[in-house]
Symmetry: C2
Subunit: 211 residues, 2 copies
């Protein structure tokens, strides 16, 4: 069974990549024509991808003025962070008991994260993989989907933060304590620590953005 995938999806990923790499800086105007020729496709799939990104809060769309990359705004970060925190906690509740091999994998990722210094991209990828792995057993597909979508936002802030501030805390210790609670199947404590972990992260990023 050969699967065909719409161009707009490829373009969507490509644009995100351009934003993460910094080729499209925050606040920069995005001209669909130049993107189209850069990517070797027509304007149509580019605009479809940009429209989706605008719904996801990565890009702003102003009528008659086209698209701009969203600026880094502490308010937006805190708002999205609060939502993601709540939703990931909800997902954790729905997970049921986390199987041991998953917990092992989480520790493994966490260890790798602790060892990885300097490589910002890898750090973020590992941190996200940790979260994804943790919530992998959540049966609520739509919840996982919304969480994945919302992650677009904090990812940009983390990238900027880690790049510029050089900090790579992202607290592997927090992760470890959450895993510890899950090992005892103490869901309430795990959820509480998870929520706390989010709050700390948001606060750290927020304080940095506000200089």
């Amino acid at each position: 069974m050969i699967i065909r995938t719409p161009l707009r999806n490829e373009v969507y990923r490509a644009i995100l990549e351009l934003i993460y790499r910094g080729d499209l800086a925050a606040g920069a105007r995005v001209r669909d024509t130049v993107l189209a020729s850069q990517l070797g496709v027509s304007r149509t799939p580019v605009r479809e991808a940009l429209l989706r990104l605008s719904r996801e809060g990565v890009v702003d769309a102003d009528m008659g003025r086209g698209f701009t990359v969203g600026r880094l705004d502490p308010v937006e970060m805190r708002e999205t962070g609060a939502i993601l925190s709540a939703l990931e906690c909800l997902a954790l509740e729905h997970c049921g008991e986390i199987p041991p091999e998953r917990l092992a994998r989480l520790s493994e990722i966490d260890g790798e994260l602790a060892r990885t210094r300097g490589d910002v991209d890898r750090c973020i990828a590992l941190d996200e993989e940790w979260h994804r792995t943790l919530l992998q057993d959540c049966p609520n597909r739509r919840l996982r989907d919304i969480i994945a979508t919302l992650w677009q936002v904090p990812r940009r802030y983390m990238r900027a933060y880690l790049r510029e501030a050089g900090r790579v805390s992202l607290s592997t210790q927090h992760h470890a304590r959450i895993i510890e609670a899950l090992r005892r199947n103490d869901r309430a404590t795990a959820a509480e620590r998870f929520s706390h972990h989010w709050q700390r992260g948001i606060e750290e990023l927020g304080a940095w953005i506000e200089r």
Copy 2:
């Protein structure tokens, strides 16, 4: 200051209206060309609206096979309901103290809801307005936006339910008890009752869908 609004937004609302009215039944294939000529616009804004609706879970998009109206699926309803419940509770927490005039307005809507029997559309509109009014003071704009988007899903189920089953419970009593707690500024109790209200509603709809 005259505001221009993109055609895709008008088309978006128009398509939702067609779905709610039943002109586009669940599972029905949606041909962008016929919609375009019906609405008197070109395919482009129609497809943009359909793409958005597919991201919101109202419509399915299969590569090469175009769009179909999403079928009513109890799993999807429960999944979305669980998310909305959590997010609306979160929003309520962020609201701060609800001003008295808002509480008065909530009672007013609730009273009107109790009086309105038979008119399904009006019932749903009032129920939604009740929720919107309750969360109106939530300062997290993005949270309010996500909630509004997610509402697209249960709204369809409620419409089908009220239409077919004739029930118009939607529990104005629950509403009243939530308001009562808010009057005492007992946020914890209000949140708990709110969550309970959601669970009941989801359960009622879910049981009905499963026949």
